[in-house]
Symmetry: C2
Subunit: 527 residues, 2 copies
């Protein structure tokens, strides 16, 4: 059994803390030694990706200290306990099994006589069969016609992840002839969200997936009612247009108002549920079940790498520990995720949820306050767009923001144009390469307004092309990074009590059970 | 003439620094006094909006200190100099005239015999006339058919602002019968961006607006070539499908390859250019020139409020100074913008650019290093979505993130559904009211995992409905806030030297003129 201790009780952390500002990356990344560093500070990920950390503020000394921290914090032991079914989510007293939705890493995990791997595979098969029948015209609308659009109704983990993955693969699927139907998403309780999406779809040929584990999420139930209302008004039968992704004990599970119900359980949290039916149903409908299976395989291969005790061969743990060094020793409060890929335009928003909801905590897994900073603020937009926007602050602002670049050698669609002896894809790649060096090395100028101090750390994940498999590996990489950081900080990364108070107060507002500030704000907003 | 001094040389700043943690908002916002505070700490903005700062860490003492800082830093004098045509952009030796694109606040500003207000109005009229002719079928495609879609090709300021404003008004225009044509945007040099947008439009009926002040922006020229290539391959004549928004001296200005050219000048920076032809052409085409004019009127009315020397009657300056107090005295490194309006989904990305590119600087307007922190990291997503995502960290994380809420009493489309005795719009508003109080007051719980410390400051801008006028006021509010903060920090908020180094290095990569780290990264990315 691993021992769970606060970060500041570990002697290896003490040692690491002594290494503040140990590496000057402006020097380390300059000249020929910089080239050597880029070659050496790289480790393979799954699906042909590689994680390059040459422009991070590390050297052999820091890396050794990080490896000692990984050992002392028993990170791999904890991961093993997790995938073997220990109750890692201490707050809600639940196991944490999202890895099991893509691979069996350890021993069978059996709950109430059900092997959980079998359960997840069965639900994937259910989603796949449903999708195949829709594509084959066996499941059709009231008029016997094929469905052409699928709309997901969900919020938070039921929205951001699946939406980011759909956008990431839409062009790939079109280029590879696996595109089956367009997907749209309704999430916000703002009625303009649902109304605008509904106005953009052909209702008679639209399928709707209602996603709520508990079957009680306010926004989702409200939007479901909104959609049912619209279907009914259009003379359509909602039960012929809707399916549910929910838990077996939810009110949605037993309803005959759905074409089918695909089940989730309590062991995969919303922000980790893209690999369950939450992502599986919509992605299988949009691109075919084979594409979703490839994504799971990519994630599974990355998970396997994350079991390696050798820090330098475990890109997920290495990225996590460098992040801890940046957050707790170097004192950087935020991190930017910068994919040089328009297809990953919503991937930073998904990671923002995954990271900030998992590790934005001030008490440890035993409910005791911690005396060190935990999860950073995460934000990001695709490059090169960001270069013409907030990069000014990243280059010359008073605070240092660590950066996580992502880049691919090839575009997804393969349509390109050659201008001034280079393609757009080459320009895109040239820009990300240039940014890493510009951030690290800077450039002296007598005019301080044009001076770049450099010393702004970044890493890059490089791949051949954004495919289902590499996207799965990317997703698993960040999930595992967040998990390892939670272990280091001794947090429970798998609950989210911080979202409860707002819900309770919102109910009081709607019940007109308010006083003081809440009442005046309610009046001001005409509630 | 105003005197430009560093913040840390001002005696009022010294005094303000002594007020760290002066107000406990958990107490101040509780009970009946909380209600009084919400009523009192509110100031009108233009277009029926109001700025409420009850949940900010201020009281009469802090507000008095902020007013003294506003006076000593001569913020209104500096604003007056700006709109009267002083060379405020010291780095590039340029005037800063974006206010003049919407209103004449001061004396006429004449450059080379041209009254700049007349120039901006003339360009707006040119954009309006062009749009009217397109709508009337007087400007048509080769086959004499009407255009149905307009696509903007631009990046940074030529993309984020216009895109955010288009998304903000799309539903409003549809509900108010002023929707003329769909707009799309191509920005990234990633070829998958242009290819995907082109695949989604009917080329024969599409207009393209090429937006580049200099006429040399790499991404925009490359994407223009990409589009021309596609038009030509489709048997269409690019010059019958394209217009330019550019400066009079740019290579694009004199080209007969465009249907028309609408002019910009050097005195409106990219991130402030939504009110010039950069936003005017596409918004006039999409919604009609009258809608764009209403937006300008809303901005103009807000600008007028920003000239008020009374801090409590100047919402833009007040917001700015509270932000300085949070950044420099309280030490908060980032700020979240949280609109409870799906229509404002990309407004935070625009503000992220506007703020971080303007004030992400380490040297003052004279090119000397400053010894205090300047612009914060800005990020945000619409609510209620964010509540199911990163709000966990905002409520219970180890760092405090100041929050800027935006909410409207009414939806834009007016289509709604009543579930459990409330509409979706009421639920949306109930949630934002609840969040402000939850963040400020928190809630004690013996189980520390469920404990909310509160004391997390926020403000809210409340409006009746998101309309062209209120959107214009909102845009001007944040632009003016950023301007005032730049004055306080003694920065030049109107240049962006930090984006140059990356451009230079990218050119070297494309010319294969690299060594060391840059060469190895280039090889890794197959350039």
């Amino acid at each position: 059994m691993a021992t769970w201790k606060n970060l500041d009780t570990l002697s290896s952390y003490d040692k690491l803390s002594g290494l503040k500002n140990h590496v000057d990356i402006a020097t380390a990344m300059s000249g020929e030694q910089g080239g050597e560093r880029v070659k050496n500070y790289s480790t393979p990920m799954a699906a042909g990706l590689q994680y390059n950390y040459a422009a991070k503020e590390v050297d052999e000394t820091v890396l050794t200290a990080l490896a000692e921290l990984a050992d002392e914090a028993q990170l791999i032991d904890k991961f093993e306990e997790l995938y073997n079914g220990a109750v890692i989510n201490t707050g809600e007293k639940r196991m944490v099994l999202h890895h099991l939705a893509r691979t069996q890493l350890g021993n069978p995990v059996v709950v109430d006589g059900v092997d959980k791997r079998d359960f997840y595979v069965a639900q994937q098969k259910k989603a796949a069969d449903f999708a195949n029948k829709v594509h084959a015209g066996e499941i059709v609308n009231e008029a016997g016609e094929k469905f052409t659009t699928v709309v997901q109704i969900g919020i938070g983990g039921s929205d951001l992840g699946p939406r980011a993955l759909y956008i990431a693969l839409e062009n790939w699927a079109k280029a590879n002839n696996t595109f089956k139907m367009e997907a749209k998403f309704i999430s916000n309780v703002d009625p303009d969200d649902a109304a605008a999406v509904l106005a953009s779809v052909d209702l008679a040929h639209a399928l709707f997936i209602v996603v709520s584990k508990s079957g009680t999420t306010l926004e989702t139930l409200t939007n479901e009612a909104f959609v049912k209302d619209a279907l009914t008004k259009a003379g359509l039968n909602p039960s012929k247009h809707m399916l549910a992704v929910t838990s077996e004990t939810s009110p949605l599970a037993k309803s005959d108002e759905y074409l089918t119900a695909i089940f989730m359980d309590d062991y995969i949290g919303g922000r980790y549920s893209s690999v369950s039916g939450v992502g599986g149903a919509i992605l299988s409908l949009a691109f075919g079940p084979e594409v979703f299976a490839e994504l799971l395989d990519g994630a599974a291969a990355e998970d396997k790498l994350a079991t390696n005790r050798d820090l330098l061969k475990n890109p997920d743990m290495l990225d996590a520990l460098i992040g801890v060094y940046e957050r707790n020793v170097q004192g950087y409060p935020s991190t930017a995720v910068l994919p040089y890929s328009q297809a990953l335009s919503r991937f930073p928003a998904h990671l923002q949820q995954c990271d900030m909801e998992s590790n934005g905590k001030s008490v440890n897994r035993f409910g005791e306050p911690v005396d060190y900073v935990t999860g950073p603020v995460i934000f990001g937009e695709p490059g090169t767009n960001g270069q013409h926007s907030f990069y000014q602050l990243l280059h010359q602002g008073t605070d240092i923001v660590p950066l996580q670049f992502i880049g691919f050698k090839n575009s997804q669609l393969g349509v390109d144009v050659d201008i001034e002896s280079s393609t757009s894809q080459q320009k895109l790649c040239a820009n990300v390469a240039a940014q890493i060096v510009a951030f690290a090395c800077g450039k002296e100028d007598e005019n301080l307004n044009k001076n770049f101090k450099g010393k702004r750390p970044s890493s890059i994940i490089v791949g051949d092309k954004l495919t289902p498999a590499s996207l799965g590996a990317l997703l698993a990489h960040f999930e595992n990074k967040i998990m390892f950081q939670g272990f280091v900080w001794n947090l429970n990364s798998f609950d989210q009590e911080g979202v409860q108070l707002g819900k309770i107060l919102a109910k009081r507002v709607l019940a007109h059970d308010t006083d003081g500030a809440l009442k005046v704000f309610s009046d001001m907003l005409n509630i």
